[in-house]
């Protein structure tokens, strides 16, 4: 049971990073990334591939974040000038293309079989149990660092500029903000965080395959951010842990009588979809709503 809880908490931390990533793009600057899972997959594969040829894990994580940024550039260079719904469509397509590439480029990704035997840092020295605890600590620490950094960013003038773009692009541009650049930078940073989450996932599971990166994960993260509070980093973190806990709790429903396993799975997904729609409808600010700082009085 303790092992299981450690596992859930680590996965929760990885989802928290994904939620922080989405919250930066969607909650802060207003860019909807419906292909978040694609960036997550790019990071996971990038780190798995480079650590397999001898790069240390820290290097793999850096490569994963850079790969996330490159992927972010690919999807944004054509779309950021346009209305935001184009980005939603393109990002959704991007995640699909990542899956297609991962399935087909066997020389790079080993296709549907996936990459196994990914380096798990310090597992040899710490043993299985020790590794699990160490990794939980590592992921949690990174969540805290990223959360703190994004909170600082939120409160900084730069963060306010990002939020002004979300609220009214034309006004922000009129006030002299370089809207394109702000959007571009925020999306790239958000993609880097998703890549980081991917790398942490790969080195935790020690195995990645295209099946790990279903479009459903993006919806879980949207639910996490919406439930926690769009635009507030702590809300995203809280929402991510809550969604993972909810998903795991409903796993026990699999023993329901009269229902096939596929029906139980369908019911869980209906529940996820309905929760997202209903929170958007009834409590769009989430459990921990964004705090709008009062304007400072000019002396």
């Amino acid at each position: 049971m303790a092992n299981y809880l450690t596992f859930i908490a680590t996965i929760g931390g990885i989802y928290a990073l994904l939620a922080l990533s989405l919250n930066l793009a969607w909650g802060t600057v207003g860019l909807v990334n419906l292909g978040l899972v694609g960036f997550f997959a790019v990071g996971a594969y990038a780190s798995a591939i480079v650590t397999a040829i001898g790069v240390p894990v820290v290097g793999g994580i850096v490569v994963a974040m850079l790969a996330g940024v490159v992927a972010g550039v690919i999807v944004t260079f054509a779309t950021l000038r346009l209305r935001d719904d184009y980005l939603a469509i393109v990002t959704l397509g991007f995640a699909e293309v990542v899956r297609i590439v991962a399935l087909n480029e066997r020389w790079l990704t080993n296709g549907a079989d996936g990459i196994s035997g990914i380096v798990t840092p310090l597992r040899q020295t710490l043993g299985g149990r020790g590794f699990d605890l160490f990794y939980l600590g590592l992921v949690t620490l990174i969540v805290v660092i990223v959360w703190f950094a994004l909170r600082r960013l939120d409160l900084s003038p730069y963060g306010r500029a990002l939020k002004s773009v979300r609220e009214d692009q034309e006004l922000a541009a009129f006030a002299g903000k370089d809207v394109m650049r702000l959007k571009f930078e925020a999306f790239a940073l958000s993609a880097a965080i998703a890549g980081l989450a991917g790398a942490l996932y790969a080195h935790f599971q020690s195995y990645v395959s295209p099946d790990h990166f279903q479009p459903l994960i993006t919806i879980y993260v949207f639910l996490a951010v919406t439930a926690g509070g769009v635009g507030r980093p702590i809300g995203a973190v809280f929402g991510a842990y809550a969604v993972v806990a909810f998903m795991e709790a409903t796993r026990f429903l699999a023993d329901l009588p009269f229902l096939e396993p596929v029906q139980v799975a369908a019911m869980r997904e209906i529940l996820i979809g309905l929760s997202l729609a209903l929170i958007l409808l009834l409590k769009p600010t989430g459990l921990l709503p964004e705090k709008t700082p009062k304007a400072t009085v000019q002396p």
Partner: protein
Amino acid sequence: MLSAILQALLNGLMTGALIAIPAIGFSAIFAVLRYPSFAIAGYITIGAFAGWTLNVSFGLSMEVALVGAALVAALAAVATEQTIISRLRPSGALTAAIGSIAMNLVLENIVRFFYGNDLRGYDVPLVPDVRFWGLRVGMQQIETLIISIIVMAGVFLFLTRTRFGRAMRAVADNADLARLKGIDPRKVSFVAVALGGALAGLGGVLLGADTSIDPLTGFRILLTVFAAAVLGGLGSIPGAVVGALSIGIAEELSLLVLPATYRGAVGFVAILVILTFRPRGLLGERAL
């Protein structure tokens, strides 16, 4: 080589005609309600399974299956819109889009709950392909093409010759001006969503008759439908047709040089290219 290219063009035309139906549905919803509906995938899947139930479980003809699928999918679309998405639209197009992706998950899993994940095929007679000039075309493809042309003609007549159709175009063109003229935007939205859902449902049956169906049928075709709509110009109905034909042909031509598994990526690349060079699409964003 030449005959391979001609065959690819012919196949592309057939695929394009099939994609055009749900793409027109997507564009009709976008033109009037101004949000990209990801739930169109769910409407396609629901239509495909409604048609399958009529065709296989009840042994009815394809014509009945088509009409039934259109009705059921239109009903699903209207119910989704009225209960959830219409209430999200005041918060902006992106919120409505996210709501539609959530509702897509719900619709897809309602189908999964009742039908499971198995692949199912329509009960269509196996007829040998028609051959001419060294080219080959399946009877089912010809039927799909004819049905698509009839449906498209119907949609164009509806939009140009009926009061509701004209009202829809007026709202798409300028919603405020249309309201001043006494057009009730709620009625028009209702018709647009019902039309969009019905077309998606028809597309689902045509897809099912062409290959086979499962709960992910709609989601798998979604990117291609989006590509068609973006290529033609978001919200433009003739654009959706032109975009669908272009995507169909591009997909088939790409198969000459790429492995078939990359077919799904063609739509994505097409979207990126068109947005880079001609962001308003081939025909611009006017509804009709």
